[in-house]
Structures are given as structure tokens and as C-alpha cells.
């Protein structure tokens, strides 16, 4: 076994000067002038480090009364260290070390957390590796002589002991020092975790103020499930900046967040589910053209700034403010690319029908955003049919595969995105929204005997073979939106999340000035 390099109790310790998360630099000699110091070496990826910081916070007061202090020694950049301290609710001093971690190396650090109690004469008196409640109690007793009251102690909560992690100086000390000296603001945002995995725009105070356009930054749209961070307008604006929105998109983003926070939408469930659905935003009204949204060619496929960034801004509000990031509180088994951003405008100009927003009760001429828990669109080709009945059959057959092919009915609102050419066939037939929805519903009907392959739920298993079922429980569940370019007989279905009133209801909110 390799002998330990860690500085031992009884040895003199080397001095250092390191930056503080509060700005400026701090030297060990200056700290020791005021009294003993418990240095706690930590790093952000180590759960034991984070646990130790939070569990030492209650000792901060008793240490201060005894003229001593606790100082966290982070192997992280200042902004990361600041976040770790905030998360741990630890309010003691925090210093930061950058690669190649010369202080950690000089102290022979091997793992984190490592806590070293240094006396005023710069001698190490106690060394604790990992979390050990008894050891910290001993240090507390040594530093804070009990004046008759109960001794300062750390929590008795489980775990009493927990090993730590390898210290960064042991594995990436040779990493290029570029990161230490040169600050890259885009890389910084990745380190903060303020991203969906794509580059983001730094939400500087100036950019956020421009996004707010005079709106009250402190006004909250409510807590964002699942983590329940408050959607203060300032944070929503920060997400809009991160996503790349222009300020004129902000009213749409705010309406989208309001729609997502409507209890009927069930953002909590949509985020936590193992299903792949995500928020789909459909925009109606004059705002579409005013901010340059795309309702035509490739409208659901990005490459339009408004479409791409409004949907992304909502995802960032959910994932960051709402702490609903995948792998954390978002438990989607597979996910799908629409969870990066899924926002488009209805092609009202090519539609034979009233706008979706109007069909959902918003007065004509007003901007509105409709939110839906949708899965990735499945494109449905029908190039030969000119008879609307045949197009309906094609849509119904394809739509019957969604959720799971043998599950009838799914009892969930389902969006069919109708292309302008198919919409024109329906216009020529004089079919309105209700007629098309009713015909898709009817065309989906089939006998139970045809559903005997694939998944068999207990309910389906018990049904008689000759019973006729439709894919939906009512034609009202079929929602039509017209979108896409003028050429191409490709419509699509946006499969829904769970039905039967368990999941989510579509919500439409008007878009207005943000104050």
C-alpha cells in the first residue's frame, strides 16, 4: 500500500493564499491571526463533501464564539463553489483552488472531504478523512470548551460515517491550466448547469432587463413543478435569454409558462413520467407573423429562431427553475428530440378552419399559446388519395398505433397536425374540424378480436371478441391543427401522454403584454 501523503497531526502546515467566493483573496496566516481554523477540503461532484458542508454549518456559530472558524476549501471555480455552499446552506468562508491544485498537493490531499484543524501556530491538530460524526464531535469539543451548556455537536442523523471521493489533485492535476487562467463564459454556463446540453446565451443583467422590457422582475407566475422553484419573471427572462429568445418573444414565453403552470396541464406528472412526452406549444394569432414564427415548411423542425427558442425557453424554465432536468426529477425512459424544444405556429392562412385558439375559446384576432403533452410526431403519408374519406382512413390507421397498438381506447386528447394539402381536400369536401375529428374517430373503430396481438391489459383481456372499440373515447379528444408547407401530402400525429384523466389536459392561454 502506498504510504499516505496527507499532512499529519502535529506537523506544521504550509501557508496559502486563495480566492474567496465573496471576492478578494484570503491567506491562511491572516486567518490564523484570529484563531484556529478548521479547513475542509471539498469538491462539487462528491456527495460526502456536500453532506459534510451542510452538517458543519451548525458548528459555525459555536466556533465563532470560541474565536475559531470553519473554512471550506473547494477544488472548484468560485461560481461552482458558491452554488455548492448555497445548496448546502453553509454560510462559512469558502476558498477556491484551480488546477493544478498546488495547495492541495502541498498538503498531500488524497481524498475529499478532508478536514484539518490548524492551530494558531500553524500546526495541524486534527485530521479527519471523509464524514465521521464522532471525529467532528471530538474536534468541536476541542475547539469549543463547554461553558456548562451542552457541547456543540454535529447531527446524529444517518449516516454517522461516509467515505469520500478522490481529490481532484490526484487525478486531473495535470489537466491544462487554461481553465484556471482563462475564463470562457460559455463553458462557465455549462459548469453551472444552466443548459439543456446546447450552448446558451449568458443571462447578463442587461440582457435580462431587455427581455423583461420593464416588467416587474419579482412578480412570480407561481412555483414550477416538480422542484417548485418560483417562476419570478426575472428567472423566466433569464431562461429566455439562455434559450436565445429576442425580447419580443417574451410575451409568448410568459404565456407558455402560465399555460404550463395551469394545474390542468399537470407539469409535475409530465416531467416525472417515464413516458417520452414533452411540452408542445402551438401559437395562434397575429403574434406569429409579428415575431417571425414559422408555420410553413419545416415548422416543427427548428431552424426558425422564434419557434426554436420559445420552446427551449419553456424547457429551461421547467428543467432549471423547476429543477425538472432529465436524470433528476425527469425520469423519461427514452425521451425524444422534441424535449429540447417543440414550438410552432398554426398555418392559419392555409387552414380551412378557425384557428385552434378560437376553437378553444380565445376571441378571434388575439394571440394565444396552446400547450399539449406530446410525443415526437409520426409523419403520415397519403399522396394518392383525393377522396377525404380515404385520407381519414390513413390518419385513423396511423393514429391507431399510438401509445401502444393494442390499447383501445387511449382516452387521451391527441393532436393531428394536418398539412395544407390534406386540409385543402377537407375544405373541398366542406368538412369542418368537428366533422374531420368525428370521421377519424369512426374510422379507428375495430373489433376486439383484431387487438389480440401485443400488450393485453387486464381490462382488454376481459372484453368480448366481437366488441367494437375506437382508439379514442370521444371524437372531442381529436384535436386538429394545420401546419406545414404548401407542397407535400404529409400530415402527422403527435401522440399523447397517458389518458383516462390521469395525465394532462391541453391548456390555451392568451398572449398579452407582460407587466
Amino acid at each position: 500500500m502506498t504510504p499516505s501523503t496527507l499532512i499529519a497531526a502535529g506537523r506544521k502546515v504550509p501557508d496559502f493564499t486563495l480566492p474567496s467566493i465573496r471576492g478578494g483573496s484570503v491567506a491562511l496566516t491572516d486567518l490564523l491571526r484570529e484563531g484556529p481554523v478548521l479547513l475542509v477540503f471539498v469538491e462539487s461532484d462528491c456527495p460526502t463533501s456536500r453532506l459534510t458542508l451542510s452538517r458543519l454549518e451548525p458548528l459555525r456559530g459555536p466556533f465563532a464564539e470560541a474565536g475559531a472558524r470553519i473554512v471550506a476549501m473547494h477544488q472548484d471555480p468560485p461560481h461552482v463553489a458558491a452554488r455548492v455552499m448555497r445548496a448546502a446552506q453553509a454560510r462559512f468562508e469558502a476558498l477556491c483552488e484551480a488546477p493544478p491544485y498546488e495547495v492541495s498537493r502541498a498538503w498531500g490531499l488524497e481524498s475529499v472531504p478532508t478536514a484539518i484543524l490548524v492551530d494558531r501556530d500553524a500546526t495541524a491538530r486534527e485530521v479527519i478523512v471523509g464524514w465521521d460524526a464522532e471525529d467532528f464531535d471530538r474536534v468541536a469539543a476541542r475547539v469549543t470548551p463547554s461553558g456548562g451548556g451542552p457541547p456543540a455537536r454535529v447531527t446524529r442523523e444517518h449516516p454517522a460515517r461516509k467515505p469520500g471521493c478522490g481529490a481532484r489533485n490526484t487525478y486531473d492535476a495535470a489537466a491544462p491550466a487554461a481553465g484556471a487562467g482563462e475564463f470562457d463564459e460559455l463553458e462557465d454556463l455549462f459548469e453551472r448547469g444552466w443548459t439543456d446540453g446546447l450552448p446558451v446565451i449568458p443571462p447578463t443583467r442587461e440582457r435580462v432587463d431587455r427581455m423583461l422590457g420593464g416588467a416587474d422582475p419579482a412578480r412570480s407566475l407561481g412555483p414550477v413543478p416538480p422542484g417548485l422553484g418560483e417562476a419570478r419573471l426575472e428567472r423566466v427572462a433569464a431562461c429566455a435569454v439562455l434559450a436565445g429568445c429576442r425580447p419580443e418573444y417574451f410575451p409568448v414565453v410568459v404565456a407558455a409558462v402560465e399555460a404550463a403552470l395551469d394545474p390542468a396541464f399537470n407539469l409535475h406528472g409530465m416531467t416525472n413520467t417515464t413516458h417520452s412526452c414533452g411540452p408542445v406549444l402551438i401559437v395562434n394569432g397575429p403574434v406569429r407573423t409579428a415575431i417571425g414564427m414559422n408555420a410553413g415548411i419545416n415548422a416543427m423542425g427548428g431552424w426558425n429562431r422564434a419557434n426554436a427558442t420559445i420552446g427551449r425557453a419553456l424547457r429551461l424554465v421547467i428543467g432549471l427553475t423547476g429543477e425538472g432536468a432529465p436524470g433528476g426529477l425527469d425520469r423519461s425512459t427514452q425521451g425524444q428530440p422534441g424535449k429540447i424544444s417543440f414550438c410552432f405556429a398554426e398555418n392559419e392562412e392555409a387552414s380551412p378552419w378557425e384557428p385552434l385558439s378560437v376553437a378553444r375559446g380565445i376571441p378571434p384576432g388575439l394571440g394565444a399559446v396552446t400547450i399539449y403533452t406530446g410525443d415526437a410526431p409520426m409523419t403520415i403519408s397519403d399522396h394518392y388519395s383525393r377522396e377525404p374519406e380515404r385520407i381519414i382512413d390513413t390518419l385513423a390507421l396511423a393514429g391507431s398505433a399510438i401509445w401502444s397498438p393494442s390499447v383501445f381506447p387511449i382516452a387521451a386528447q391527441t393532436v393531428f397536425a394536418i398539412c395544407p394539402e390534406h386540409a385543402e381536400s377537407f375544405r373541398l369536401a366542406g368538412w369542418d374540424r368537428k366533422t374531420v375529428a368525428a370521421r377519424i374517430f369512426e374510422a379507428s373503430q375495430r373489433p376486439v378480436t383484431s387487438l389480440r396481438r401485443g400488450e393485453q391489459s387486464p381490462i382488454l383481456s376481459a372484453l368480448p371478441e366481437d366488441m367494437i372499440l375506437a382508439k379514442w373515447s370521444s371524437p372531442d379528444e381529436i384535436v386538429l391543427v394545420v401546419v406545414g408547407g404548401e407542397a407535400g401530402r404529409f400530415s402527422s400525429v403527435l401522440p399523447p401522454w397517458v389518458g383516462y384523466g390521469l395525465g394532462s389536459e391541453m391548456v390555451t392561454k392568451p398572449i398579452g403584454p407582460v407587466a
Binding site: 468560485p78 461560481h79 448555497r86 445548496a87 446552506q89 442523523e157 444517518h158 475564463f183 463564459e185 444552466w194 449568458p202 443571462p203 447578463t204 443583467r205 435580462v208 422542484g227 417548485l228 422553484g229 418560483e230 419570478r232 426575472e234 428567472r235 427572462a237 433569464a238 431562461c239 435569454v241 439562455l242 399537470n266 409535475h268 406528472g269 413520467t273 417515464t274 429551461l316 424554465v317 432549471l320 427553475t321 429543477e323 391489459s457 401522454w497 397517458v498 384523466g501 390521469l502 395525465g503 394532462s504
Partner: protein, 91 residues
């Protein structure tokens, strides 16, 4: 560093401490809580079978939807009537 506006709610919410651990199962009221997903009942039935003969007072409760948080009244009712809860998750 530039002044950046955080998208996170940095307000610290105190963590809820875990309930005290049971020192024994004998005579304790244990609620088996179904979240209503497929195969939940198979799971809970097996748990109940494993608890048989250990003096546990077993009761059942259920969430109305696995896709939404439990309503407050369900949480309150379960908390009041139980020394421990085993929640069946999913699938």
C-alpha cells in the same frame, strides 16, 4: 465575474428530516400505498405476504393517479394512520 441572473430559485428550503426508524415491526401500523401503476398490486401483495407473521398491522391506501402528486388528504390520512409506509412505485 459578470453579474448573471440565475434561472434557479436559489432560496434554500430546509430539507425534511426523515421520520424516526422503527425499532420493531411488531404491533406497528404499516400502510401499503398503491400508486396505481400496472403491476402495483402484485408488488404490494408480495410485500404483504413477506410481512405476514411478523405482528404487523397492515393497511392499504391508494393514490387516485400515478401521474399526479397524492392529494393532501391522502397524505394526511396515511400519515395519521401509519407508523410506516411502503409505497409501491411502478411497472
Amino acid at each position: 465575474m459578470t453579474d448573471l441572473v440565475s434561472p434557479f430559485d436559489e432560496a434554500t428550503r430546509p430539507p425534511s428530516p426523515p421520520a424516526p426508524r422503527l425499532d420493531t415491526l411488531a404491533g406497528r401500523r404499516v400502510t401499503l400505498l398503491s400508486i396505481g401503476k400496472p403491476k402495483t398490486m402484485e408488488f404490494l401483495n408480495e410485500i404483504e405476504r413477506l410481512l405476514e407473521g411478523r405482528g404487523v398491522v397492515i393497511r392499504r391506501a391508494a393514490k387516485p393517479s400515478f401521474a399526479r402528486p397524492a392529494p393532501r388528504e391522502v397524505i394526511d390520512e396515511v400519515a395519521a394512520a401509519s407508523d410506516a409506509v411502503i409505497e409501491a412505485l411502478a411497472d
